[in-house]
Amino acid sequence: MATKPKKTTTARTGAKSAGKPVTSGKARGETAAGAPSPEDLDIRDRLKSGPRRPAGPPLVGDTFERAAIKAIRDEVVPKVTDPKNRKSRK
């Protein structure tokens, strides 16, 4: 394993204010939002199927074959970690 300290890069952060919070009572006020119907939720559920949209820049090396070839060359595979079936207390 490498032991050389890693090079560190630093960046500045910004400051903002969000003001005071909105206090929300337990009762539903006149401005309370409505809930979608079960049918609307069924549609929302189906829209979640399929691959997710990319959520970052493309990753170099994130391809099936290249990584697989390198993995078999480099890897010492640890033992398998299948879960047990164990009863809970309650």
Partner: protein, 402 residues
Amino acid sequence: MALTLVQNLGLDDTATSQLTATVCEPTAAANDQQLFMTGNWFASSSVNGGANWTFVNPFTRFPASAGGFCCDQIVLYNAAHHIWIWLLQYVSTANGDNIFRLAVCRDTQFGSWYYWDFAPKNLNAAWNKQMFDYPHMAFTDANLFVTFNMFLGNPWQRAVVFRFPLATLASGASLGYRWWATTNNGSIRLCRGAGATMYMGSHNSASQIRVLQWPDNSTNLSWSDVNVRPWSGGAYSAPGPGGVNWLARLDSRITGAWVSGGTIGFMWSANRDSSHPLPYIRVARIKETNKTLIDEPDIWSQLSAWAYPAAAPNSQGQVGISAFYGGGTRHPGHVVGVKTATSWDTVLTKTSTHGPPDQSWGDYLSCVAHHSTAAHWVASGYTLQGGSARKNIEPRYVRFRS
């Protein structure tokens, strides 16, 4: 010592009002007898340690804002400041922008929430058509950290990190905060168990992780890049009974992160490769002091796939996880586990009776230390029980110890 399930509770229709989704994204936290659980698209609370649950409707609990409540939620309990923190993501307006709502309540007034809203345009006026998606939330000694991706329509734009003072969240005073954005890394994951410095991780490539750190006493953050063993991404597949591929939505973003005892850990779902016949969980442990790689104790199986890991240390520095396991002869199941000296001790909490017909599952789970028994963990999970419709999703609240 063997892993023990102290509580393993399925939330029924009364607790969720059947506002469940096959991409459930559940989170859970505990403050002694007070419990709170969120998921798509429900919230539920208990004041008697989980014996009874009360449904809380995230669509109607707060006033209407943006395009209405959407989906992603996270709940945490901060014992140092005696506050509950509930994050809710909202639907975009017709203009394309949305908000996230950061709701806080004191444990002495459990359920009496006050909140702040945040829109992308609050950070930069030019981001007035962009939306937040995929939140994560964790705290240090002094601050709450929140990360999001930001999108313009569908294309990813940047990742954002927020830092909020916990003392101000608790007092309900005017909230000053700090923030930082990057276009170099997406889906930044925050470490659970942080002390005076928050550590975060994101992939630079399929063989390198960027480890970011933001000390509580600094207005600057910094990062180091750590090489790890190469892994595969691409289109994930782990067909279960009936050929249902429950991993069609899976990707490689880091979903589990912790810091404990001088070690930073990151976990993510990797695709099958020559050494692993099915998708599995990659683990990278990194030395906190100099950011060198310690080891990579992966979690894998010859029989079923592992995916969607979440992780947290307990008060003794042990690492607990919550994850899914399925494919082959098994429908997706929920698993909790702990790191041992040489491997992982893992236990199924429940296995689905069906697979998801739309091949949708995920996108995240939670694992946190329990309060006030901080040697225990609280994990969220879910399975399909008795059918494959979204109403057959049964969220789980699991408390476990080693």
